[in-house]
Amino acid sequence: MLNLLKLAAISCLVVWPSCAGAQGQTGEADTRSAATAIINATILTAASPRIENGTILFEDGKIVAIGSAVDVPANAAVIDGEGRWVTPGLIDPHSHIGVFPTPLLPTTMDLNEKSGTNTAQVSAEDAIWPQDPGFEMARAGGVTSLAILPGSANLIGGRGVTVHNIESVTASEMLLPDAPEFLKMACGENPMKVYGGAGKAPVTRMGVVAEFRQAWADATQYRRQRDEAMKAGKPAPADLQMETMAGVLDGDIIPVFHCYRADEMEQMIEVSHEFGFQIGAFHHATEAYKIADLLRDEDIAVATWARRWGFKMEAYDAVPAAAAMLEEDGVTVSLHSDNALLIQRLNIEAAMALASAKDAGLDYDYETAIKWITSRPAEMMGIDDRTGTLEPGKLADVVVWSGDPFSVYSHADLVYIDGALVYEREKDEGSVESDFLTGQTGAGE
């Protein structure tokens, strides 16, 4: 459910229709396994050097032990990982599966609430279509958690949420409990195209920055009035849009910016200073390597690609070594997909980024590359306390790979979420779970 509700519980109980909604178990796979041990595997934990001939033991949805000498209880299901590799479940900090689904039709296109440049009041949560086959394909690629964000047509597009990639009929079931929400914002060409192209503001980057300033000025004023009203025991204002933005100013919602150019990122940082909020991450950020020191000093993370570039002017200066260069300069960097095909092979994206590191003379190893698709996205999504690494006490979000996870030939053999087996390659490959594909002649054959 909305984390925003917790902060807003006092001020706007009456405003939020879903305030009274059930706060039941969400984001948890239905059937948690009894004790499971994967033995004899090469384990990349994303938190320590690799473990050869290692064992990982999990029970009741949590990792119990991991190492080269783990006592496996007699009642545990034991899986021989001989020749196989184990990594944390992969995490994508920028996805639109479910809101920009396949099939993509005018009637399934829920990406952008293009009714105004500021639609902070909307949430991707309310549009996620769990039947999007993209979810199960991403699961087969080892993706266990993903941030579902609104698109970049609007300056302030709305809230995004983190889901556990489990099969579900409703989106609520998929939400990772108590995961922070995001406020998705966008600089540059997309808002200029959508609004400027229709003769509305913003037409230029001047307009983009001016609109951002105005929106944050409005939010600042709203927040002051709200707090004063509450102090005075008066009714709080009822403005969902402003309440979301106040959530950012309160530090409860993570602001993330779709932003490509270095100069634009710097401008957004200036705006954040003026209004006193901390930017969580720049996404896409193809020029982040030009301002790595600034991003490190500002403690702003970057989620980017290994190879995408040039599809528009603001993405023209992307370089394949970007992730490695940001890593070198101490920026919290991850890879992301933004795409339902790319998300299926985040391990290959990481391998490409690692190869480009080597090209640039930066000698990173598997231990770093695995972080780009596990622990780093977990950190920037505020869920690193429970997932993203293989450590005792963390959720048993685990992938068993058929071989080296950075080889193009390797497959995710087994995928566990919360300790429950949610994908088994031998059994599931070619089978169809999505309702959309069920009963379609020839599908899944």
Binding site: L341, V408, Y409
Partner: protein, 417 residues
Amino acid sequence: MRLFAILSAAVSLCFSPALAQTLAITNAKVMTAGEAGELESATILIENGRFTAVGADVRIPADARMVDMNGKVITPGLIVSSTTLGAVEINDRANANDIDASSSTLSAGADIQYAINPNSTLIPVARRGGVARAIVTPGLEAKTGGAAAFGGQAALISTAANGDAISQPQVAMTLNLLGSDQGRAAVFPQLKAMLEDASSFAENPSPERVSSFKAAKWTQADLQGLVPVMRAEIPLYVAAERASDIRAFLKIAAPYNLRIVFVGAAEAWSVADEIAAAGASVVLDPYENLPQSFNAVLASSQNAVRLHEAGVPVLIVPPRAGHDARLIRYRAGVAVAAGLPKDAALVAITSGPARMLGLDNYGEIAPGKVADMAIWSGDPFEPLSGLDALYIDGVLQPLEDRQTALRDKYRAKPAGK
């Protein structure tokens, strides 16, 4: 790096007029993409831009320049079967996208050779991915408005530095099956009539006959452009996804001897036998496994594998944007992971495209073929393998691009700047 230095020294002569000197590459694992298959510890001789010998027992001329590969892997230079490379700098709103001539009065008469910019920054980026040649296909996504229309003539380009880029123009014709906004019930009869016109014109292509053909608003260039298609001298690329569209096109094309190449073709596997029977080929991206629309409900990771098993020549491509041309080798690897034999995956990105065009002097390491070859640090389909060197027409190519220049520029900056 060291290898590159050695190679640079070894073949610097290739940039000079002294091309006649033989280059001998020894001790290489050669994936020939031809009948010879894979050769261990092989020697390759190159003279005048052509391979002159390949094999384990090659006699090396006394005056040859020798380069020891120490067991590195050599493949033919890669060939992308369908791309916008060279005709697009930036897709979106940069006045730098010339791939479609769809608003013009020409359809089949449009000719992409005039849109190729050899100075495009995309070309060195593709080169760095081991791509030596590419088939630039106009009009495959063109929206042609009311009437069905051909997309225009494709060109085979080279990624060689300091070249004019065009290896051969007019190598194929394109057609976006659903480019018009009409329903299928109108599109196919219209295309049928257009093929009848084109066939009839091809029998006697004299300019004065143009005005007698009425199935489309033909210009002379349009009908002329279709003559080699109807004579089966060049292939016709047909962009289609749905199985029923592939079937319908095969039906209207059946009276003619066309060399059909389906592009995209998400559902092709489900009609693989019919495609094989028609002698058609398929250009596909192995990543495309999601039902993007109701035309691609049967999209499958197994598309390449099943087509190959049915005997259909499969050509593997990365996403169509020229920016992504360098991704081709990983796409081949993904097809192998799905079950395509490795030799078939290599053919699909080298000799396969050349044979599909009927230009089989390209894409293969064999005596007499054009000396395009890529030298890899390991398995070329693996992302962790690197490209060590690329030869095009027997000439060692530079591997720097705008992206390495930007990288090095910013890495050279002192901290805090």
